[in-house]
């Protein structure tokens, strides 16, 4: 019996210790890195990748830890209002009642591009046609000069800043969106869905464009940063950092300053966003 007790206790301790060990080691590691301040940021999945890259670079030069939660623009704005996050990220303009409570900083601009499967022959659409596709008035690519294929609409989820901005610019409401649209959460999700389905059409942020999908010109204008800046390409929106005036810490302000500096803006340009200057 004695042997058994010892053995059992040992095993129990081992299992618990094994897990505890990992924790301890990490605590030490954390202590040596010694982050003095944690900056909580949450919001748009479109702003997220840019913010992550900025944070990665910024953490190298400042003694700070930046936590970024990509949960969608509306949630980020709510978090900033409720002090859950110090800074909210938004990829749509603030509504009036939000503006009353929050300060906004435009950290970059971004275009939204309509994307299709690479094999799709339709390369040019008017704003009206885009609206008809997403509201279900046009349901076959042949009506747009493409192959005889049914259109599969892929939209972002309700509450996404990209979806709000896209719907506002194109001119339809959430209730008008065709019901059998696939709802994908996140730009990446839309991109992979469109890239693997020759029927599909969706919209993503400029940052996510790559050769796996084909981009569509709007009213004959190509989706490029230059055209957005020249105000020729209308599917564009600002990337915002929003915060309550009284909640912003010194560290938060320093991070925003860094983003607006030439160095920060260069990173923005690198990731595919459009610098403010």
């Amino acid at each position: 019996m004695g042997y058994k007790i010892k053995m059992a206790m040992l095993m129990l301790c081992l299992t618990l210790l094994l897990s505890a060990c990992g924790v301890k080691k990490e605590e030490k590691k954390g202590a040596s890195a010694h982050h003095s301040h944690t900056l909580a940021i949450s919001g748009s999945t479109s702003v997220g990748p840019l913010a992550e890259k900025l944070a990665e670079k910024y953490e190298e030069i400042d003694n700070i830890k930046i936590e970024i939660n990509q949960i969608g623009s509306s949630a980020g704005i709510t978090n900033a209002i409720n002090d859950v996050s110090e800074i909210g990220m938004s990829s749509r303009e603030l509504k009036e009642e939000e503006k009353a409570r929050l300060q906004e900083t435009i950290i970059a601009y971004d275009g939204i591009v309509v994307v299709t499967h690479p094999s799709n022959k339709v390369k040019d659409l008017t704003m009206e046609q885009i609206k008809d596709i997403f509201t279900g008035k046009i349901t076959n690519w042949k009506d747009l000069g493409g192959d005889d294929l049914e259109i599969v609409v892929v939209s972002r989820e309700d509450g996404s800043g990209s979806r709000d901005a896209f719907q506002e610019i194109v001119g339809y409401s959430s209730g008008e969106l065709i019901r059998n649209a696939i709802v994908a959460s996140g730009n990446g999700n839309i991109k992979t869905t469109v890239a693997t389905n020759k029927h599909a059409v969706g919209f993503i942020s400029f940052e996510y464009i790559d050769e796996s999908v084909s981009t569509v010109n709007v009213n004959g204008v190509e989706a490029t940063a230059e055209n957005v800046l020249a105000q020729k390409y209308s599917l564009a929106r600002p990337f915002l950092f929003v915060h309550k005036e009284e909640s912003l810490t010194e560290e938060g302000q320093r991070f925003i300053d860094y983003i607006l500096s030439p160095e920060g803006q260069a990173i923005a340009a690198e990731t595919g966003a459009i610098p403010i200057k």
Partner: protein
């Protein structure tokens, strides 16, 4: 005629079994095939980087944190609860209520736990989206598992042990922790290991309570993502099947190790005496 029917049924049985095995082998095989290319020392122990080529170490650490915290709370509570049910309680309404609650907890889908964690631990107790919120939610999820396995193993402790010990003039408590618990230890340990498996596999509840921050957690109050949530997110957000499969390999290997150690421990300890 009967022979024909019998043969047909027999074929059907072989076919069904073959199908089950084939499907399951395909899944595991596919995950290994897709993800093996990414597995390396750096992948597991390297820091995460948003630019892509980083490792999954922060997620491993987060997973370890959640396992450690949930088990540190759930183990004593679960074992003591089982002891109460098996050794102390008189059968009656109260015990039936407790049994009913434990069984109901087993059946609740994890998304409901997630909702509860989000409103109770995250919002009401103001713990925020954090490892601690997720761990507390997980504590409730694994509690029934620990209670049930402990009860099962307490049942297997022969009556004579208890009687012998009590006859020697020990108190109930002494009998309990000197005689009964040690004898039940193998069962209890395999229960704990099963719970670890459950925690590792959990996604929906953690997703809603720990958030999705892809960085090394600085404390248990940080928001972070576990391996399983990471595997979900890279599939959903980036469509990166290879990365998801590579994380899947890590998960499957951990679960294999846990299962083997559960079997090993109970065998080893059962052999130790009797």
């Amino acid at each position: 005629m009967r022979k024909l029917k019998d043969n047909l049924l027999l074929t059907l049985l072989w076919f069904a079994a073959f199908l089950t095995v084939a499907v399951l082998v395909t899944i595991v095989g596919y995950i290994f095939y897709k993800g093996m290319g990414l597995i390396s020392f750096n992948f597991i122990f390297g820091d995460y980087s948003p630019s892509g080529d980083g490792g999954i170490w922060p997620m491993v650490v987060t997973t370890i944190y959640t396992i450690a915290i949930s088990l540190i709370i759930a183990t004593p509570v679960g074992i003591l609860a089982a002891v109460y049910l098996q050794e102390y309680a008189k059968q009656g309404k109260l015990v039936r209520l407790i049994r009913f609650a434990t069984e109901s907890l087993t059946g609740i889908p994890s998304i409901i736990y997630g909702l509860f964690g989000a409103v109770f631990f995250v919002t009401t107790l103001k713990l925020g989206m954090s490892i601690i919120s997720a761990s507390l939610t997980l504590t409730i999820i694994v509690l029934p598992v620990i209670i049930r396995t402990t009860e099962e193993s307490l049942k297997t402790v022969p009556r004579t042990y208890r009687e012998g010990s009590l006859a020697l003039g020990t108190t109930k408590l002494q009998t309990l922790y000197k005689v009964i618990l040690p004898s039940a230890m193998p069962g209890i340990l395999s229960g704990l290991i099963l719970s670890m498996g459950r925690i590792i596999g959990e996604s929906a509840a953690i997703f809603l309570t720990a958030g999705t921050v892809a960085a090394m957690p600085s404390s248990i109050f940080s928001s972070a993502r576990t391996l399983t949530v990471h595997s979900f997110l890279v599939t959903q957000e980036a469509g990166d099947i290879e990365l998801a499969a590579a994380i899947g390999i890590v998960l499957i290997v951990i679960i294999l190790i846990l299962n083997f150690s559960a079997t090993f421990i109970s065998k080893k300890l059962n052999k130790a005496d009797y």
